[in-house]
Amino acid sequence: MTRHRALGLALVAAVVGVLLAPTATAAGTENVAVTVAPERISTKLGGKFAFISTITNKGGTDARGLIAHLNVLSLRDGTYVDPEDWSTNRTRYLDPLVPGGSTTITWRMQAVNDGDFGIYVAVLPESGAPVPPVTSPTIHLDVAERKTLNAGGIVPLVLGIPAALGLLALGVRIRRRG
């Protein structure tokens, strides 16, 4: 085989190799990064707050079929947390991200328990492929206790409203009979 023919065969093989090489996966999280801001939030019990998460595609191909999911947990043992009580829209289905592109999501929540909590956003593929989700840094949420109900204050209402209505009914009846 001549030198030129060998070179040509190698070139063809390389081109065929490139053409036949597996393409980049349509859904993949390996090149996705998630950031959040702010990273520390303080509020009172019942307080409403929001934070922003930014999901960026750092890869060279489009990132499609991604789901962003919000989670919250107590950093202290013994506090039961149901994330559904904190936010009603915890799962967001993302539009495709071009290489280098990013999307920003605002998450609105309400603190329904007091204490120390961690909040994070996880991004995973909607295909359900067994790849580890990409998570954001944890947001440290500090919820101060607040007295939301002064139980004793209801007594004047419970006594006063029926009393007022009762007196009114009696007065009307006496006046009519008179």
Partner: protein, 273 residues
């Protein structure tokens, strides 16, 4: 007997106010100045007050449970306020029949539909009174968790739809019932039937059949909608499908009560009249 001043050509005067408005005014007068409305409202205020007191003085009440307590108070108000409306409406025609006062009403120029409309609107006043009584309790329970506005608006909207539905149902039954006792009994039975699905086990309620049953029932659908607004913090449009049956129920039954029921206001009760 002295002669009353007569019009020169004896032609009757054009009605200065529409018949339904005159009937409404008199019904409100009879209901509230006659005393029955105030007595019912007093009883209602006792019930709501006791419930609000029991939930408020539960020292273990956390934030969510406080929301649920607010929702519970509101739902009791809607159910019991609706019951009062139903009872007044169920007496509207059959009661007049038994008291012997229906014939003189039928002898006036007011049409039967005007009679039905005026009585229906008067019955609704019980619901609005119940709502006003409930406002301070909802404020007390809900202001600490920031849901007073949503709770009151949702409660008023849903409660009004439910009250219109129940009042219309009561009026329809009253038009056709052979006696006042039958009218009241039948109306109460229907109300209990509408409330029965709430007693289904949680699992059954979540199954498709149970869910359908809850959705087509204006009472349970309305209360579920209120609960989602107040307890779960949903916005108005998120669960709007739950409002479908209360709206349809209110519109359909109110129309039927005035158009069909009004036509069948007769001296003798019963289907054959």
């Amino acid at each position: 007997m002295t002669a009353v001043a007569q019009t020169s050509d004896r032609t009757p005067a054009e009605r200065s106010a529409p018949g339904w408005l005159v009937v409404l005014h008199q019904e409100l007068h009879d209901l509230w100045l006659g005393g029955r409305g105030l007595v019912l409202s007093f009883a209602f205020s006792l019930l709501v007050g006791i419930i609000a007191y029991l939930v408020a003085t539960n020292t273990d009440l956390n934030f969510l449970e406080q929301r649920e307590s607010t929702s519970l108070t509101l739902q009791v108000a809607i159910a019991v306020g609706g019951l009062l409306t139903l009872l007044v409406a169920a007496d509207a025609v059959s009661g007049e029949r038994e008291r012997g006062t229906l014939e003189t009403l039928l002898l006036t120029p007011a049409s039967r539909r005007e009679l039905a409309s005026g009585k229906l609107l008067a019955a609704l006043s019980l619901w609005f009174a119940a709502f006003v009584i409930t406002v301070p309790y909802v404020w007390f329970l809900g202001h600490g968790v920031g849901i007073v506005d949503e709770a009151l608006v949702a409660g008023l909207a849903v409660g009004t739809l439910v009250a219109v539905f129940l009042a219309s149902l009561g009026l329809l039954v009253s038009c056709f019932a052979a006696s006042n006792r039958v009218s009241l009994s039948l109306s109460l039975f229907v109300l209990l039937a509408f409330l029965a699905p709430t007693q289904l086990p949680a699992g059954a309620q979540q199954a498709w059949a149970g869910d359908l049953l809850l959705r087509v029932n204006p009472l349970t659908a309305g209360e579920r909608y209120v609960s989602k607004i107040v307890v779960n913090g949903h916005n108005w449009s998120e669960d709007i499908s739950w409002l479908l049956s209360p709206v349809i129920g209110a519109v359909v039954f109110a129309t039927a009560a005035v158009l069909v029921g009004g036509r069948y206001i007769r001296l003798r009760g019963g289907v054959s009249g």
